[in-house]
Amino acid sequence: MKKQSIWIGCVVAGLFVWAAEGGAQQVQQPGQDPRVGLKAGATDAGVAARNMELVATLPKPPGFGDATGTGGLAFANSDIAFKGGNMFIGGFAGFNFYDIEDPRKIRLRTSVPCPGGQGDLSVFGNLLFMSVEQGNGRVDCGTQGVTGAPNAPSPERFRGVRIFDISDINKPVQVAAVQTCRGSHTHSLVPNPKDPSMIYVYGSGTGGVRSDKELEGCSSGDPNADPNTALFSIDVIAVPIKNPAAAKIVSRPRIFADTQTGAIAGLWPGGAHGEGTQRTSTTNQCHDITVYPELGLAAGACSGNGILLDISDPVNPKRLSEVSDINFAYWHSATFNNDGTKVIFTDEWGGGTSPRCRETDLPSWGANAIFEIRDKKMIFRSYYKLPAAQTDFENCVAHNGSLIPVPGRDIKAQAWYQGGVSVFDFTDATRPVEIAFFDRGPVFADKLVTAGYWSTYWYNGFIYGSEIARGVDVFELKPSEFLSANEIAAAKLVQMNEFNAQSQPKMSWPQVPVVARAYMDQLTRSKSLKPEQATALNDALTAVERANAADRAAAVAALDALLPALEKQGGSANPIDAARYRAMVATLRGFAAK
């Protein structure tokens, strides 16, 4: 394994010069965002980063396309799933398993050709799920495509959700392939709290409806005339964990129905909202659904609307409320905050293959919309868009991301295709703030190819990026004025056995000193905690940590004595800080009681 790294230092004067492989150079003007004007290149593009560092990168495996992206979407990397020390990266051509036991030295483990796009993956125990929607998908995963015309019924064709047994990680075996009318663009796993022998899959199809001669019962009929239309629904697939071969569709709930009339097509009909507004797609599909099983909630990004679902009965999800937005073109994906009090929806204006982060593109178009959830209703608070202009030759728009588990804050690491990764804080839903980023220049200086990050997800201490053309990147956060070493260390304490971004787990933190210190840093940053208070508290905590058995009780008493004043202070703080005081005091008491 040959590795080399090249780095060029920074010039503090605000003017910087960088050089990359091949000695290309570039000068930035003072004050300009360093992401603007980066040199193009498939493997040697210019790079700008702040408060995060690239610690490992691997190109795509042989057969899965090169870094130039000129092979097109057919070779694109797509979504990521994690299990233990393994990362599974899906793609339009198949999927690849990576060993991430040591995140700084990731390695390719197994390559699996199985075309059909998009190839989004999820994992549950020994089962790996894959979305297939395109016309070349074959039941047998063959790479030769489907014989005959696209509209001719074929028993070879597969569009739907595949299930693989991965108990032998070096040899995945396809055990089921559930055909659906529109295929599966994305899917989300929904565990059933009442029946652990089953796992449910919400399949979201966005493609054309196939003929009922290929799959019985499929109809693309007008919803007013045909109550069985495959449009205006999602597919709920039930998978018996011990017998996945018996997986089947158990319902196609009409989650867009009008609550008064029951009409199937009850939400956004498509079109603009008035002069100067965005043209929003018709709500006849969900693009992506993010479920939060612990809360019994799901957020559906459903083309023309964002919807909130009650999933306490996974087979029959019920819509609780919906929102629309005059600046959204296509409701694409959703992420809850850890408390379930907020939800971020993304707008994939331009479909992900277009440049939509140019200086001329509105900051409220192709952005995230952040909502607060109150009484199961969503209230709009703000937009967040990548704050650095990209070129005409970089496809860029809001895309997939996940939470970074810093206690006391809501932080997300998000992919913006060739706009790179942006890490931002949305604890205050009205004022999202970027705290870290990484970006490469375009693949080409003079032509647009589809590339950049499909997903960037936090998993057990690192951020992993699935780069459509260039491969896989691993990042580590660095302490900064926006995020302290204690906060990063506290985030790293949250360890997951499995992670699928569309099936959001509830995260919690142990009652240990570094978590308390993360809260202290936050309260100091917000100027609620005075520096001398922070020092006293930190000293008292250190004393408990260092105390031997004989003098621990005295150290604990000294720490305890400080807490009532802090609780009182928290009582008059703003709601965000008040919650931090409560969590900090609880953490300190929990630690002291050990």
Binding site: G9, V12, G46, P113, V139, T143
Partner: protein, 215 residues
């Protein structure tokens, strides 16, 4: 080897610049596993069995579709050019803007698609040449009639023409879908699917607008 792959960061300033280059591990050691249909075993592929490119190739029908659609889209843009000076209706102007933006973006995309696959790229004016016409396109005489029309008459002719023009695009998609071996490649699949959905929706909208004008 510890931390040799580390990229140095300057936290004091706002910028780092770095390139991490990995040569990649030797591919021979990594198994390539070809799954079978459900219930069938997977098979590890030998070095010689491994596909050089795990993707379906585009077909001659795909190329013909893209080449034809460039001229087809170009005429829509020409029609919108007329609309800019001839209509008085704001909704018509917005419709025109939408068509112009989407069709220009798509022309760029189609040219790039052809270029990246080594196929010849027709001139956007090829549809003016004999035999260059595609389903639903306006004849030179019809274009001339539109050119001289004004006000409500223009709006009516424009909508009728554009509805027929979009309908032609749907015919082209249907022809593509009836061609064996077509739409196996990811981008053409998505593009043709998108054109079909998008233009269907636009036709519905234009039909509604047309009813408003006829009143």
């Amino acid at each position: 080897m510890k931390r040799t792959n580390r990229v140095n960061v300057c936290l004091a300033t706002t910028v780092i610049a770095a390139v991490v280059v990995f040569s990649g591990q030797a591919s021979a050691q990594v198994p390539v596993v070809q799954p079978g249909a459900p219930g069938k075993p997977s098979r590890e592929l030998s070095e010689s069995e491994r596909p050089k490119a795990v993707a379906s190739k585009h077909s001659p029908a795909d190329t013909k579709f893209m080449q034809g659609m460039i001229g087809h889209h170009a005429q829509a843009v020409e029609m919108v050019d007329l609309l800019k000076t001839r209509t008085k209706r704001e909704d018509m102007r917005m419709l025109g803007m939408r068509i112009e933006v989407s069709q220009n973006d798509e022309i760029k995309m189609m040219r790039l698609w052809l270029q990246n696959r080594g196929e010849s790229i027709p001139s956007e004016h090829a549809h003016h040449l004999p035999g260059g016409t595609m389903p639903g396109m306006l004849t030179p005489e019809e274009m001339e009639k539109l050119r001289v029309a004004k006000g409500a008459e223009f709006d009516r002719l424009f909508l009728q023409g554009m509805i027929r023009h979009h309908g032609g695009a749907l015919t082209m998609v249907q022809e593509l879908m009836s061609s064996p071996g077509a739409m196996q490649e990811a981008e053409i699949h998505d593009f043709a699917t998108h054109v079909d959905a998008d233009q269907r929706m636009e036709i519905l909208r234009m039909n509604t607008m047309l009813k408003g004008i006829k009143k």
